[in-house]
Amino acid sequence: MYEITKKKVLANVGGARTTLMVVKAPDVARVCLPGQFVMIRVNETGERIPLTVADFDRDRGEVTIVFQEVGKTTKLLGTLEEGEFIQDFVGPLGKATPADKKYGTVVAIGGGCGSAIAYPVARAFKDAGNYLITINGARSMDFLIYRDEMKSISDEWYETTDDGSCGVHGFVTTVLADLIEKGRDIDLVFAVGPVPMMKFVAKTTESKGIHTIVSLNSIMVDGTGMCGACRVSVGGQMKFSCVDGPEFDGHQVDFDELMRRLEAYKEKEAISLEEWEKQAGGR
């Protein structure tokens, strides 16, 4: 059992919440690195889902997770309060981002909930001496998270919203394309967020040959390379997100296949959520 020591709702738009939790998990906190993930199971009847590490504090033995409450499992997780416990918390899994190297100019992009995951990676890029440009994007202002955090570590900082309610009116790729067009020398792009966003980021950088790392959110059961649910086509080869990733070369990933695979349990997920809301009324 893993204690929740802090909980904060980062965004709440008409009940669609993005929530941050700090979890006591000293063994994980001791060794986890930006880009890695944990598998969690909320309770005895729960499913296992992967969540990318959003932050960690080795001294306090704590790991931060940030999640959007979209399905039963994330909504159920969202009902837990400070002082309550998560049943299982396994990690750190997957490979870390190679963010401890100096590339030159790095653009780190976070979309929606992905901003929370982009943050520790971006910070690592900065710490390694890179010139850091961040682009933080969301549907609208109310969905933007990690704004101050991103700003505080960036040499250059941009925000975008689809509806123009804050920052640049448009997508993260609007800013990225603009930077490229202006002839900015970009050595590396890191992007994490919704699959379509990552797909278009990769498209935007492809013609210029800018190396682009994306962090995938495949369906997983064990998260340790045993089930193969998370397989993804990368450069025509079968890879497992959990052990070979979760980060891959964005120019090689078959995003359309990934999107289809993410929908594999869509019907069952709807049933699960509906049943739960009917029975528990949200708790």
Partner: protein
């Protein structure tokens, strides 16, 4: 003439007392156990046939050295709890072995009574006494004084549990590190409830915990902690790696990443470990098609096929590229699958899984095969018959063609020698790897094999560890 010799009458060969089973038409739609187990009378009746040979051969056929003759004698006397204790002297998991061991190729294959008759049903007797003792409530054996040395066991599957069980009986402090939230390894995530109820697996593990084995769940060694740290920081003087066969193999054909193609590992883990068959009471969903093809001919393929039926599939096919005689699955499993209505598509090999625009499976293209010359394994090699392709009408595919070793531990343990297949290399005698004090056994060493061979490896390593720690 009058001095014609009367013919010596020989009794006809006897058969095993039959195992009561659920009716195939009923059980194909439920997850309850197929075999129901002997009654006390049936057990005694079967045991009474045992010759109690002066030089029994059965025990030499058992990888975990169960004192078969002695325990069967105790069954003859109706001393069932004592019989179970006798088995537990060398085998930590009798209720499991009694259900999933291939006795026909092991103890029962060497049974002297079995030369002229069906052998004594050793497996069924083992199962009976283990179940009897568990229900009765088992006392713990007397344990030796603690040696004062700590051993770490990685993986709570058959190899790890056996190794831990043997070491605790020798007086070591034993901690098992398990990646999942439950113990049992393949017994928990792989073998279905209808063949091995999870209550029984849990009970066998609990017994080991009562003996003093400590189990740490959610602990992925190689990630959260390395073997080096276990030994240098945490004070473990020896380590046993029983992490199992990790990564599922897929075929190198088109369509393997379609949405309705699953590894048997994923499918069975969702159903067994995560209890997906009780969705939505349990949150983990599992999809099932109307027409399911399971690729492969081993026990895992049989498990996946029979599970598919139970989840409601109308047609379930085993697609196997060789002939029936060459299937690696146990005869009993094949027989049970067939009784339940699984259809065998033999001498057929998939060449492509066909998908629609939404990446859903709409069929599987196969080619017919025939048997050619024997290959390196001695089995006749299947060769494709030219122009014999056809499309099997299926909407879901499960791939059950084996596993490759998980790379997490080898890649984080310097000095650990692995084969070109990624399996860990050991000294056959002691079970020790190329890293002093680090032992290994089970699927991580042999590649995918059986529960009992993994248990045998766990036992061998426990002996190796004891020897190593007695010297050092």
């Amino acid at each position: 003439m009058a001095d014609e010799k009367p013919k010596r009458k020989r009794k006809p060969p006897t058969k095993k007392v039959p195992m009561p089973e659920q009716d195939p038409d009923v059980r194909r739609r439920n997850f309850e156990e197929v075999a129901l187990g002997y009654t006390a009378e049936q057990a005694i009746e079967e045991a009474m046939k045992c010759l109690q040979c002066r030089n029994p051969k059965c025990i030499s056929g058992c990888p975990v050295e169960v004192p078969i003759k002695q325990f069967v004698e105790l069954v003859q006397e109706g001393k069932f709890v004592e019989a179970a204790m006798k088995i537990k002297e060398t085998n930590s998991l009798p209720a499991v072995c009694g259900r999933v061991c291939p006795q026909e190729t092991q103890c029962e294959a060497s049974c002297i009574y079995g030369i002229r008759n069906e052998p004594i049903a050793i497996g069924r007797l083992e199962r009976f006494v283990a179940d009897f003792a568990r229900q009765k409530g088992e006392d713990l054996p007397e344990l030796p004084p603690k040696i004062g040395k700590k051993v770490a066991v990685i993986g709570c599957g058959p190899a790890g549990l056996t190794c831990a069980g043997d070491l605790i009986l020798l007086g070591y402090d034993v901690t098992i590190f398990e990646a999942f939230h439950k113990g049992g390894g393949v017994l928990q995530y792989g073998i279905p409830e209808f063949r091995l109820p999870k209550d029984i697996v849990d009970a066998e593990i609990e017994y080991l915990q009562r003996l003093g084995v400590d189990i740490k769940y959610n602990f992925v060694i190689g990630k959260i902690r390395t073997i080096k740290e276990l030994m240098e920081v945490d004070g473990y003087e020896a380590v046993f790696i029983g992490s199992g066969a990790g990564a599922p193999n897929f075929m190198h054909i088109e369509g393997m990443n379609l949405v309705d193609v699953f590894s048997a590992n994923e499918f069975l883990t969702r159903v067994n470990l995560m209890k997906g068959y009780r969705f939505p009471e349990y949150d983990t969903p599992v999809n099932i098609g109307n027409k399911v093809a399971v690729i492969g001919g081993g026990n895992v393929a049989m498990d996946a096929a029979r599970t598919s039926l139970r989840l409601g599939a109308e047609e379930v096919y085993i697609v196997y590229r060789r002939a029936r005689e060459q299937m690696p699955a146990r005869a009993e499993e094949i027989h049970h699958a067939e009784e339940e209505g699984v259809q065998f598509k033999l001498l057929m090999n998939p060449v492509e899984v066909l998908g629609d625009g939404a990446k859903h499976v709409i069929g599987m293209k196969c080619i017919r095969m025939e048997l050619g010359e024997p290959d390196a394994s001695g089995r006749r090699r299947p060769v494709p018959i030219p122009n014999s392709e056809f499309v099997l009408d299926v909407d879901m595919v499960i791939v059950a063609i084996g596993n490759s070793p998980n790379p997490i531990i080898p890649s984080t343990t310097p000095g650990l020698s692995v084969s070109k297949w990624g399996t860990i290399e050991i000294d056959e005698e002691t079970g020790m790897t190329t890293v002093p004090g680090v032992f290994a056994g089970g699927d991580i060493v042999t590649g995918a094999a059986t529960v009992i061979s993994a248990m045998g490896a766990g036992k061998r390593a426990a002996r190796g560890i004891h020897e190593y720690l007695s010297k050092n």
